[in-house]
């Protein structure tokens, strides 16, 4: 075999999201001579970005002072905020919590915003490479991170090389910047290898499922922002909706479910679809069309779950570090801030990672997380305790002398028969899509079927022998794209038996399975570069 090709940069960034691109832009502003490349697994920048998204503009003002004269393609100034507690048939309008007051903010498509940021990075001399997946970390002899290995292209499902086989190259850099978003696959390996979470609580996550609708003219109030909680979630499940009125008769809407949910029968995708049929929402959408749809895990562990964000040769920024502000349900401003801070740190310290952890912890990004650290964990005791606790923490601005603990999401499920299943007061749905497969069509996800399955299940016997009994295979329900199925098949010995079928080509790269599977046996790895969803304006 020929020797693997190598390219060298001063800095390699994994992920062309708001954190990675802001980092690259800021570093080039400070040190134009530094060579920087950004690796992105999506076929084009923004195609695998999914967010609400209402953003706070201050960090963007700092990064690109003139941006308001040349705004991203979808950028609607925030208007009226509404906050609702829903019942099945109605709801009560509540005062807007301070974290959800969006005056001065903007509703954007984060995907479109990243596609708008990328050329600005390129204009500064950053090499942005969409369509290439960083499949592995590579290390120096002293154990420090040396860069990333790009995944091979043209490998068949059985691992053999197809005619177009192209070996992935190694990208070596003085420092590697992980900006993969929530639950990054390389970050996960690095956290383990360097014990970065040793002094932190386990990380926590939610899953956000989103659709973009084109609705009949006259229904939309551009800039209007509506958040709700309550129905269809039961009081022990953390769940809430967002609904943002864009321009051009478009509405962005979605539903977020905490992945610390306890009922193994819970279906996050179904909860989203139920909420769409609420009498406050349905009349907005009826007769409209879905333009694009998808799902993505959100990092919600906050202050107490933040791992150490530096290791020899590499740093973590944005959501892969875990900087999202849960009560604000915003992470973009934190991503941009941490990216800029990382660039400033590296520029001032000869591209040395050491010291970045301390710099981040001393920064406003961390102060913001500290103030709200107890709000999300309070909801583990149910909706009403959570609300009371959130009110207290908000009033005191997080001055409580205690910090509530986080537990890993995979261990929160109750076993079948050992808990009282919550009663789900659901309606008959009338709006499209009819099921998850119909929904995944709008994600335009594409994987060459003849490639290795990128969802590694360590021991599929567990699925059949233990999980089916203990949890009734929750993977078949938490996956928003119907990737996991238990099917009945003829076994090698001729008898009928059950087996796990992984429809990897449906995957929308949300990472929920890697987080929520109760035995921690599912590992999400990067498929062939360019595979995956092709979101439009999510």
């Amino acid at each position: 075999m020929t020797e693997r090709e190598t390219m060298e940069y001063d800095v390699v960034v994994v992920g062309a999201g708001p954190a990675g691109l802001s980092f690259a832009i800021r570093l080039k502003q400070l040190q134009p001579e530094t060579t920087v490349c950004v690796i992105e697994k999506a076929s084009t920048v923004g195609a695998q970005i999914l967010s609400g998204a209402v953003i706070e503009p201050a960090p963007l003002d700092a990064l690109l002072p003139g941006w308001r004269d040349n705004p991203p393609p979808i950028c609607v100034p925030a208007g009226e905020d509404e906050f609702w507690l829903l019942s099945k048939t109605g709801g009560r309008k509540l005062p807007v919590p301070p974290g959800m007051n969006n005056h001065g903010n903007f509703i954007v498509s984060l995907g479109a915003m990243c596609a708008w940021l990328a050329p600005q990075a390129e204009a500064l001399g950053v090499d942005v490479f969409p369509g290439f997946a960083a499949a592995d970390n590579i290390y120096n002899e002293d154990g420090s991170v040396a860069g990333v290995r790009i995944g091979d292209m043209g490998v068949a499902r059985d691992g053999t090389h197809k005619s177009g086989y192209t070996q992935g190259i190694d990208i070596k850099a003085k420092v590697t910047v992980l900006a993969e978003g929530a639950r990054g696959s390389l970050t996960k390996q690095l956290i383990k290898r360097f014990g970065l979470d040793r002094d932190a609580d386990p990380q926590g996550y939610s899953i956000g499922i989103k659709e973009l609708w084109q609705v009949p003219a006259g229904r939309v109030t551009p800039g209007k922002i509506v958040h709700s909680f309550g129905w269809p979630a039961d009081t022990s499940t953390y769940g809430g909706s967002f609904l943002y009125h864009l321009d051009g008769d478009r509405i962005a809407l979605g539903y977020v479910s905490g992945l610390d949910y306890r009922d193994p029968q819970y279906k996050p995708w179904e909860a989203f679809q139920q909420w769409k049929n609420h009498p406050h929402v349905k009349p907005l959408l009826e007769g409209g069309n879905i333009l694009s749809a998808g799902a993505r895990a959100i990092v919600t562990g906050g202050y107490q779950s933040l791992p150490k964000v530096e290791m020899p040769g590499a740093i973590l920024i944005g959501d892969t570090a875990g900087l999202l502000n849960v009560p604000k349900i915003k992470g973009t401003h934190q991503a941009i801030r941490s990216g800029m801070l990382a660039a400033e740190h590296l520029a001032a310290n000869g591209l040395q990672a050491a010291g970045f952890d301390a710099a981040l912890r001393a920064s406003p990004a961390m102060a913001e997380l500290k103030q709200v650290r107890n709000i999300k964990p309070g909801f583990k005791k149910g909706l009403w305790v959570g609300m009371a606790n959130a009110a207290w923490e908000t009033l005191t601005r997080g001055a409580s002398p205690w910090t509530l603990k986080n537990k890993p999401d995979w261990c929160s499920l109750e076993k079948i028969g050992e808990y009282e299943a919550p009663k789900r007061d659901y309606v008959t749905r009338e709006l499209p899509p009819r099921d998850r497969l119909a929904g995944v069509y709008f994600a335009a996800t594409e994987h060459d079927e003849d490639q290795p399955v990128h969802l590694h299940v360590a021991d599929t016997n567990i699925c059949i022998e233990r999980c089916s009994i203990e949890y009734d295979n929750p993977c078949t329900r938490f996956c928003p794209a119907s990737v996991y199925e238990i099917v009945e098949d003829a076994m090698p010995d001729g008898s009928r038996g059950k087996r796990l079928q992984i429809n990897a080509a449906n995957c929308v790269h949300c990472k929920t399975c890697d987080i929520k599977d109760p035995y921690e046996i599912i590992t999400w790895v990067t498929p062939e570069g360019g595979s995956g969803p092709n979101y439009q304006n999510l």
């Binding site: 084009t44 333009l291 069509y441 335009a444 092709n534």
Partner: protein, 248 residues
Amino acid sequence: MKILVGYKRVVDYNVRIQVKPDGSGVVTEGVKLSANPFDDIALEEALRLREKGVAEEVVIVGIGPADLTAHLRNGLAMGANRAIHVTTAEAVQPLTAARVFLKLVEKEQPGLVILGKQAIDDDANQTGQMLAALWDRPQATFASKVEIADGKVTVTREIDAGLETIEADLPAVITTDLRLNEPRFIKLPDIMKAKSKPIDTIEFGSLGVEAGDHLKTTHYAAPPKRSRGVMVKDAAELVATLKQKGLL
């Protein structure tokens, strides 16, 4: 021998096409654009001919607005030697494209022109044939195999009845079908090398080609939605429902 390859940019085949609400076209804002898949096959074939030693130079041609450069760089990263960018802000119809190619053929004197059999945006399937007629040279369309020897090209064509093999004198026009080859993956170092490859920019107006639309599109519409299905309890109800609808 020099090979000229048409390299059109279209809405990516994975994108769900959306018709603008006013029916004036399809949405291209915020939509992924990439090479017409048949043009990638054309470029791949040209590169293979170069690698076999049959050709020395592969030149890709793009007709479109200023930002087409990034698309042409992809073709250069795949391996083309250089690119020609004919700049125009207007959408180009097949006859206009064929006339542009004729001008470039006169200038470049290629031994072979390889085009995609059609572009997946307008599915016109005309440019190759029109170019052959204007140039007065042989055409071999829907190619699934191409061999060149002794100044002649032997092309296997995919036709309704099966495969047809024809021989033509060079220079000639070939249009590619899906099964001709599988385009290669672009390698990262080649993207860097492509940055220093030349792109000649020619303004459309300077070519002396008659512009203007030969076809007028009146409106675009999405296919009608399938109406909701009806669930029936059993075979008897199915039969009854079909009878009621006069289908049985």
